[in-house]
């Protein structure tokens, strides 16, 4: 069972040890910019496609709108959706030059305001990012290395849902509850699913659904949260998974297990391991579906928008069973 976070569990030296143990720098050559997504090869992809047996399509994307989870913290805001042309204008006879009645619109949004991928250029460790590139390669013009466009055809593979909340018999884990390696293994085992090389592992805590049912996001974005324990970095490394995704803002437990630094698991898994992270996933429908049919593996496809030099991307992940 998940345990309560302990803020004095770790010190900076522990982060450094784990970062070295889980480092994949150079593993796929000095020019690599996609990290653990390299674990998905043609065989993994073909096997993933063979999991489409019922013809079901399920979306894991939270709708993008002004009711999203952002509060302005970290300068992130909810999407601002603005119309450039409307049907009301069209019906008022405004669309005669050129002569076509249409509607059109735009959005302004932080790339990580809702359901999203972190690019490998999102987090640094001691001034370096994934594969040893300098953090200073990410400047006001965007990321010259590890930008999201590098993975434009890479986020397709076998997805596995680990429904930790359901395994624990709760609607949602409480804030501050840390999911350990054994919690992940026991959840997988009780669901009858194995974790394989190249998998996209999706962990459900119930946090988002708790907020949605209350009609209040509270501290969802950047505040206290259930999430994976720091030690699971080792699990992700050993299992050679390609991505970790959750229904929380930041995957890892908050408050963190260290008092000295913010989001210690991030320090390790993104810049050193090269792991792609997905956050703010909407997992209610897939959670219910997997519980109903007992099938926790599927074809997963979540193409990022290839915004050149971006360090993240909003997405609408699709699961096919």
């Amino acid at each position: 069972m998940p345990h309560h976070y302990n803020e004095s569990n770790l010190v900076m030296a522990d982060l450094e040890v784990m970062a070295e143990k889980c480092s994949n720098w150079g593993r796929w050559g000095p020019d690599d910019q996609i990290g653990t997504l390299n674990f998905i090869g043609p065989e993994e992809l073909k096997n993933a496609a063979s999991l489409v047996k019922q013809g079901k399509s399920i979306s894991l994307g939270l709708d993008f709108n002004q009711d999203g989870p952002q509060t302005g913290k970290f300068r992130r805001f909810n999407p601002v959706h603005t119309m450039l042309a409307t049907g009301t204008d069209a019906s008022a006879g405004k669309h005669t030059h050129p002569n076509i009645q249409y509607a059109d619109d735009m959005v302004t949004m932080p790339l990580q305001c809702g359901t999203q991928w972190d690019a490998l250029s999102h987090i640094f460790n001691n001034g370096k990012m994934w594969n040893g590139y300098e953090a200073s390669q990410v400047d006001s013009n965007g990321a010259k290395k590890n930008g999201i466009e590098n993975i434009k055809s890479k986020t397709v593979g076998r997805g596995v849902l680990l429904d930790v909340a359901r395994y624990c018999g709760v609607d949602s884990l409480d804030d501050g509850m840390a999911i350990s390696i054994s919690d992940l293994n026991e959840t997988a085992s009780s669901q009858g699913v194995d974790i394989r090389r190249g998998d996209i592992v999706i962990v459900r805590t119930g946090h988002m659904e708790r907020c949605l049912s209350k009609g209040n996001w509270d501290g969802y974005s950047g505040g206290d949260s259930p999430g994976v324990a720091f030690e699971t970095a080792q699990w992700a490394f050993d299992n050679e998974i390609s991505a970790v995704c959750t229904d929380t803002w930041g995957c890892e437990v908050r408050p963190n297990e260290i008092s000295e630094a913010f989001q210690p698991w991030h320090w390790v898994v993104i810049p050193k391991m090269g792991l792609t992270l997905g956050e703010i996933f909407y997992l209610k429908d897939i959670g219910d579906d997997c519980a109903a049919d007992g099938v926790y593996e599927f074809l997963f496809c979540a193409p990022p928008l290839p915004i050149t030099g971006a360090v993240g991307s909003p997405i609408n992940p699709i699961v096919l069973k």
């Binding site: 249409y102 953090a135 400047d139």
Partner: protein, 327 residues
């Protein structure tokens, strides 16, 4: 194929009104439908589409979104994406990202974008185009106000746009790198190209046709009139084919799918008037097809699994996308 100004193919408003009635399928999937031709895709079709994954290779059909995109203000005041950093690595290495109460500063980068939803590779939602004040399934155009689309919005399609994809490489079939601007593709051309490629178009397919227009611009390093100006594309007269083939979606490597200049002076984008509001077809535009087309020419396989989830922007009338063709 024919030139847009070929007298034999020119028409006026009367034909638009005739085709409006001929192709109207409002109510086909009930009075509350907001999915249109995406209804043609069944569970069985998705299962069969997944069986087309034989090599284990993914092709991204999304053009990169950046300030070198095709928009230049020709239509609708659209611009290229404005990508702005909210936090950078240069800040990080200089210790600017301190966190209150934490001994060690964070090191991260973050960013935002401002973009018209149809500035690059995109879906048109069914609420994008109207015909005589009505949109798909007979809903009033006035349901799309400054708050967005109350009906036929893109977020209603959150788990759609999945199925069998078929590439019709018209340019290659015609033996050219790119069709010329103003060249109109006929229904016969679509059929003949499919036949020559040895692929059959079926109910529920997403049909993607390649004109070479985007590649011509990319090669020239100049978009010119790509976004809203002259272009190759399907003839207005293909609108019956679009309905009768019962396809789920139609996509192209051009700005607006249909030939420009249009084959009529009476309205702008006459084919749009029919296919979106009357047929209820999902339309994809500004697709990057070079890599996929080269692969299809190479292995002779023009069918694949197609997955192109829209961003569920609530009440949006379009969405930027990065479609995936999986072979």
């Amino acid at each position: 194929m024919h030139r847009y100004d070929d007298k034999e193919y020119q028409f006026d408003m009367d034909l638009i009104l005739e085709k409006t009635e001929r192709n109207k399928q409002w109510g086909k999937w009930g009075p509350d439908d907001e999915w249109g031709t995406q209804n043609h895709v069944t569970s069985e079709d998705r299962i069969n589409a997944a069986k087309l994954v034989k090599k284990g290779q993914v092709f991204a059909l999304g053009l990169n979104f950046d300030d070198d995109g095709p928009q230049n203000g020709l239509f609708g005041g659209r611009w290229n994406p404005i990508h702005t950093m909210l936090a950078t690595g240069t800040d990080a290495v200089q210790g600017k990202q301190t966190v209150p109460g934490k001994k060690y500063a964070s090191q991260y980068a973050d960013d935002s974008v401002s973009l018209p939803l149809q500035c690059g590779t995109q879906w048109d939602a069914l609420g994008h185009v109207f015909n005589q004040d009505k949109m798909w399934n007979g809903y009033d155009a006035t349901l799309v106000g400054s708050n967005g689309a109350e009906k036929n919005a893109i977020h209603k399609m959150r788990d759609k746009m999945v199925g069998r994809g078929v590439l019709l490489d018209i340019a290659r079939w015609a033996g050219v790198e790119s069709l010329d601007d103003g060249t109109a593709i006929d229904a016969d051309d679509l059929d003949a190209c499919a036949k020559a490629q040895g692929v059959e178009v079926r109910r529920g397919d997403t049909v993607i046709y390649r004109t070479g227009h985007m590649e011509r611009c990319l090669k020239a390093g100049e978009w010119g009139g790509y976004a809203g100006g002259e272009a190759p594309g399907v003839s207005f007269h293909t609108c019956d084919w679009m309905k009768d083939m019962e396809i789920a979606a139609i996509c192209a490597d051009t700005w607006g799918c249909e030939v420009i200049p249009n084959e009529t002076d009476d309205v702008f984008q006459p084919w749009h008037w029919i296919v979106i509001p009357m047929i209820g077809i999902t339309m994809g535009e500004i697709f990057y097809l070079k890599d996929l087309a080269n692969d299809c020419a190479d292995d002779g396989v023009y069918e694949f699994m197609f997955v192109a989830p829209p961003l569920p922007v609530t009440r949006g009338v379009g969405s930027p996308i990065n479609p995936q063709a999986i072979k």
